[in-house]
Structures are given as C-alpha cells and as structure tokens.
C-alpha cells in the first residue's frame, strides 16, 4: 500500500466550472504522494455534522512544489453540496491519496512510441488532464475523448487541447461536439491512433462500453470506478465489486484499495444491473444455495 496522509486542507480557491465547482486545496503531504487516478476522501458538514461518512473525489491535479491538490465536484446531494459551498479560507479534512493510480502504457506501437486514449464522462474527466501531462512527458501520444449529457456537464474541454494531441467531444443533446455518446466516436479514435491503452473515468455504463471498444480494438482498458464508499481506506468492505484475479478467479475486492482503477477486462460487468451488483455464483466464497 502506498503512502497516505490525513491532513486538514485549507481552501485556496473555489470557482464554478460549468455545472461543477473546481477547488484548489492546500494539502502539501497529499500533494507530495499523489499520482493520477488516485482520490481523496473528505469529511462533510463541519464539526456538528449528522453525516459521518467521507466523500471521495478524484484528484484533478496535485502540485508537490506548491503543496496543492485540486478536485472537481458535482453537487449531487447534501455532502457534495456542502463541499461546493466551501470558500477560500475554509477547511476541509482530507485523507489521501487513496487507491491505485493509472498504470502507464508499456506496449509501444510500430513507431516505438506508446499511444493512449483518455475517455472522460462528465466530471469523470477531472483526473485525465494530469494523466495526459504525465503520459506526454514520458513520450506517449495522447488523445482525449470527453462526453456528457449536455455542454455544461462537460469538464475541461478548454484544458484538453493543451495536454493532448487530439480531442473529441460528444454530448447526448448535441449542445457541444458530436451528438451522441463517447462510445460512438471511440472505435474510430482507437483505430486511428492505434492506442495500446485506454483510460476511462465516468459512469459505470460508459466504463463497460469503453472496455468493449478497447477489446474490439485490441487495446487494454483501465477504468476508474466510483462505487459507494463508507471509509475510502479499506476497512469497511462496503465498496467491493467482483473482479477476476490473476488466478482467473472472481473475488469481491475493495475498489478503494485495489481500485479505483481496474483493468476493464477483469471487471465482472455481468454482475451489475439496475443499480445493484450481485455476487457472481462462481466468486470465491459466494453464498451456496441453502447456505448463508
């Protein structure tokens, strides 16, 4: 397990970004340890809060030199709304960086260069621009595909061109970019770029579609999931999902510790549906008929 810190971060800035809020936080220790794909977990509601559990946010950027960590937050319900209401000078209790970062591509193409496509749905794009910078710095060709329901729910279209070799945008309602889903444009991007690795963060249905498209194109999908988490640090077992291990067996693994980034082909997508995730019958320790 990698290094992790627990620190009270001061809000340096909080700016609207379309439907979201972009926060810059002073959290020097977390900034020093973080890598793209990891997340932070914040307490919400202040000292007299009735909400006990931490809320998780992908790290949008971390700058060890100045000691900042950035996050992009969608006001979903009470906890995230509280975060979006923090103002410069306010404090947020953070634990991080948590989880495993995105791995780097290791299979260079015919030109000797590695190539990657980064796919973000909604605020799921938040961690991708930092990843893009890291990948480009090591010589990887990077293309970005961003999708959302509508233009205001896209995040980082302006940032993308600065860090990627090519950018494609889709919206469900056509209010920006191509009308449709990222999965509509992804096959073509994959073919054109010949990417060996696809990185994706966004809703579960999108991650499955990206996994399928990557498989069809012979690429590896690295998907960052968002399962409901109570602790974020590996002690509660609430964030589990069925993932196939190196031994070929499915286990209910903690997405906060073994994830949030998984190889898409190892995720048991068949277990998910209708907002639930079943334990596959062939999972290690799965309930037996008549058993527990």
């Amino acid at each position: 397990m990698s290094k992790v810190a627990h620190e009270v971060a001061r809000v340096l800035s909080s700016e609207p970004a379309g439907a979201y809020r972009h926060l810059v936080l002073a959290a020097p220790t977390i900034a020093a340890y973080a890598a793209p794909g990891q997340f932070v977990a914040a307490t919400v509601g202040g000292p007299t809060s009735g909400m006990l559990l931490r809320r998780s946010f992908s790290i949008h950027a971390a700058d060890p030199a100045v000691g900042t960590v950035e996050i992009v937050v969608a006001a979903h319900a009470a906890g995230t709304t509280w975060i979006t209401q923090r103002r410069p000078g306010d404090e947020v209790d953070l634990v991080g960086p948590l989880g495993r970062p995105f791995p780097v591509p290791v299979r260079p193409g015919p030109d000797g260069r590695t190539s990657a496509v980064l796919v973000g749905g909604g605020y799921g794009s938040a961690p991708l621009f930092w990843l893009a910078r890291v990948l480009r710095a090591q010589g990887t060709h990077v293309e970005i595909v961003l999708g959302a329901a509508s233009a205001d729910r896209l995040f980082g279209v302006d940032l993308a061109s600065a860090v990627a070799d090519a950018v494609a945008v889709t919206t469900d309602d056509g209010s920006a970019g191509t009308r449709g889903w990222v999965s509509d444009v992804l096959p073509e991007v994959l073919t054109r770029s010949g990417a060996s690795d696809v990185y994706a963060c966004g809703p579960m249905a999108m991650l499955k579609a990206v996994t399928d498209a990557a498989a069809a194109a012979g690429a590896i999908a690295h998907v960052a999931v968002e399962e409901a988490m109570a602790c974020g640090v590996g002690v509660c077992m609430t964030c589990v999902m069925p993932v196939v291990g190196a031994d070929g067996r499915t286990r209910m693994v903690r997405s906060c510790l073994d994830g949030p980034v998984f190889e898409g082909s190892r995720v048991r997508w068949d277990a998910f549906g209708d907002g639930l995730c079943r334990v596959p019958d062939d999972a290690v320790g799965a309930p037996q008929v008549g058993g527990h």
Binding site: M1, K3, V4, H6, T43, G50, M51, L52, L53, R54, D93, V95, E227, A228, A230, C231, V233, G234, V235, C236, M237, T238, C239, V240, M241, R251, M252, L257, A271, G275, L276, C277, R278, V279, A283, V284, G285, A286, P287, G291, H292
Partner: protein, 319 residues
C-alpha cells in the same frame, strides 16, 4: 498522567481502547495512519471457517449520525486468517482479540480450534464470539436473540480453547430481555461480554422505491445508537450489582467518537471501549479517542481509568 491499564477477565491491557470488529479490517490498512500496537487490543473482522464473498452491493447507506451496513461477513476464512493476518498483527506487536463466527456451534468451535494452530497464537489476547450471525438451525435467525442458542455457541468455544484465553460473547441489543441472554452466555462459560452489536435497521431508496441495501435490512451503527449502547451496558452492569448476574467485564461499543463518549460508556459499566463506525469518519479515531480519554481523566483528576468504570452507578458510589 492517569494509569490507563484495563483489566478484564484476567487480561491486562495497557489501555482500554480497541477497534471494533469489522470496522478496522485486519490491521494493515489502519497501521498506515497510526501504530495499532498503541491500542489496548486490536479486534479483527469476524472470521468464519470458509472464505466468504459477503453480500452484493449496495452494502451500506448513510443515515442521520449513523450508517446501515450489510456486509455479510465477507472474509478470507480461518486458514488464511491464521496463517497470514494474525502473523502480520503479531509482527507489529498488536494484542489481538479475534472475532469468530459460525453457522453452528460446531463451526464456532472449529474456527477457534484452527486459530490455536496459528504460528502467531501468542498474539491472541482473547476471543470475541460474534453471535449476531445467522444460525443455520433456525432458518437464518441470529443466535443472539435466543439465550439457549447463544449459550450453546459460547459453551462450544469455551471448550475448544485453553482456559487462560478469555472468551467474550458479543450481544445484540435487539432483544426484549438482554439480561437473560447475558446470563445464558456467562452461565455457559463466557468470561465477559461485548455490548453492543449493531441494531437492525432499514433504509428505502425512495428514487427506486425498493430497499436500499441488497440485503434488505442491515445493522445500524454510529453515534446515532450510542444511547442504546449506554443503556445496554447500564442494564447489564446494574444486573451484576443487583446480583442477578455474575460479575464479569463488559467491553463497550456503539457510537464512540470522542474521549467523552468513551468516558460515558465506561461510566455506564464498560471496562474497555471499542471504536467502530467513527473510524470511517477519521481513520485515526481509535488513537484519537485514546488520547482524548487520557487527557479527560487527567483534567478531572482521576488517578486511573479503573476509577471511572461503572462510576455512574450509585452502587459503585455508595457500595
């Protein structure tokens, strides 16, 4: 500096603070945040004989000042626990209270026996018998609601382990008469009691109009239930003062998130204190509660933690 020593059933611990079963995994994860050997004891996630996947998800819901969970006792099984988890805990110097369960009294005994074969058996400070798990013989009702079934489990475990290892029975508050269950467990050889496990609750997803948890009902925990834990500890302790129960140590658990909360459970009658759900809010919670408790005892001029145990009982004040 107050003497923090906690004495329970022959066991002497450097301090009364413990993790709560299922709220601290098996140590490695929290050890990144604080040295778990600082705690009086580390209580492990309940382990059963075979590996278990636990339930599907969602497994949790946040509730006002609490949470609901239905993990379904996910775990690696006793072999992996005895061969890997326990030795790791031993390697960092933790005193371990091992939480065990089974679907039958025999499975409890089997798990306890296998545990004794661990290379790290000396790290075991005691056993916590989690009887809030489904009893195969009664269509999935938990042992803990039935004094007789509870006693059978405790007797089976007590028989399986050497007498120097204390056995604590962890009770559920969801019974009409807690003292009767406590009496059954102590009568069957339990050296002490852990009070309380979660209380049964439920949340409905009003968007989907169906139970929020995959497992339908779940266990409610956190500060919301602290008054229930304090009441349970008080009732059982009062029954001991009234000699309706043999005197035995109580480990208190339920909603503790601060030194004041720990003091409250101790004053109600607990000789040691576990911190569960608060750990999800603050991964250093067990250590923070310990530090706060120590400061509080000093600030109030207590010479020893032992002085506050059951201190709110009039019988203790005017014996």
């Amino acid at each position: 500096m107050a003497d923090l020593t906690a004495s329970l059933a022959g066991l002497t611990l450097p301090n009364p603070l413990m993790t709560a079963s299922g709220c601290a995994a098996n140590g490695k994860e929290l050890h990144r945040f604080f040295d778990i050997s600082r705690l009086g004891a580390f209580v492990t996630k309940t382990v059963m004989a075979a590996p278990r996947s636990g339930r599907g998800t969602p497994r949790m819901a946040e509730t006002p000042s609490g949470m609901l969970n239905s993990i379904g006792l996910q775990g690696p099984g006793i072999d992996a626990f005895a061969d890997e988890d326990l030795p790791w805990l031993a390697s960092v110097g933790a005193r371990v209270l091992v939480s065990i369960a089974g679907g039958t009294p025999a499975e409890f005994a089997q798990v306890a026996t296998r545990l004794l074969a661990s290379p790290a058996v000396t790290a075991i400070a005691g056993l916590e018998v989690n009887i809030s798990c489904p009893n195969v013989a009664s269509r999935g009702q938990v042992f803990a609601i039935d004094p007789h079934a509870s006693a059978q489990v405790v007797a089976a475990v007590r028989e399986a382990v050497p007498i120097h290892l204390p056995v604590f029975a962890k009770l559920s508050p969801d019974v009409t008469d807690l003292v009767t269950v406590a009496a059954a467990c102590l009568g069957a050889g339990a050296d002490g009691l852990t009070l309380i496990n979660t209380t049964l609750g439920m949340v409905i997803d009003t968007d989907r109009m169906r139970p929020h948890l995959g497992g339908i009902t779940g266990g409610l925990s956190g500060p919301a239930i602290r008054p229930i834990a304090v009441r349970a500890i008080w009732q059982v302790r009062s029954a001991m003062f009234a000699e309706r129960l043999p005197t035995a140590p109580i480990i208190g658990v339920g909603g503790v998130a601060s030194g004041r909360d720990a003091l409250e459970l101790a004053a109600a009658g607990a000789s040691a204190i576990q911190v569960g759900t608060a750990t999800f809010h603050d991964p250093q919670a067990p250590a923070h509660v310990l530090d706060e408790l120590a400061l509080l005892l000093d600030a109030r001029g207590y010479a020893a933690f032992a002085d506050v145990v059951a201190a709110a009982h009039p019988e203790r004040k005017h014996p």
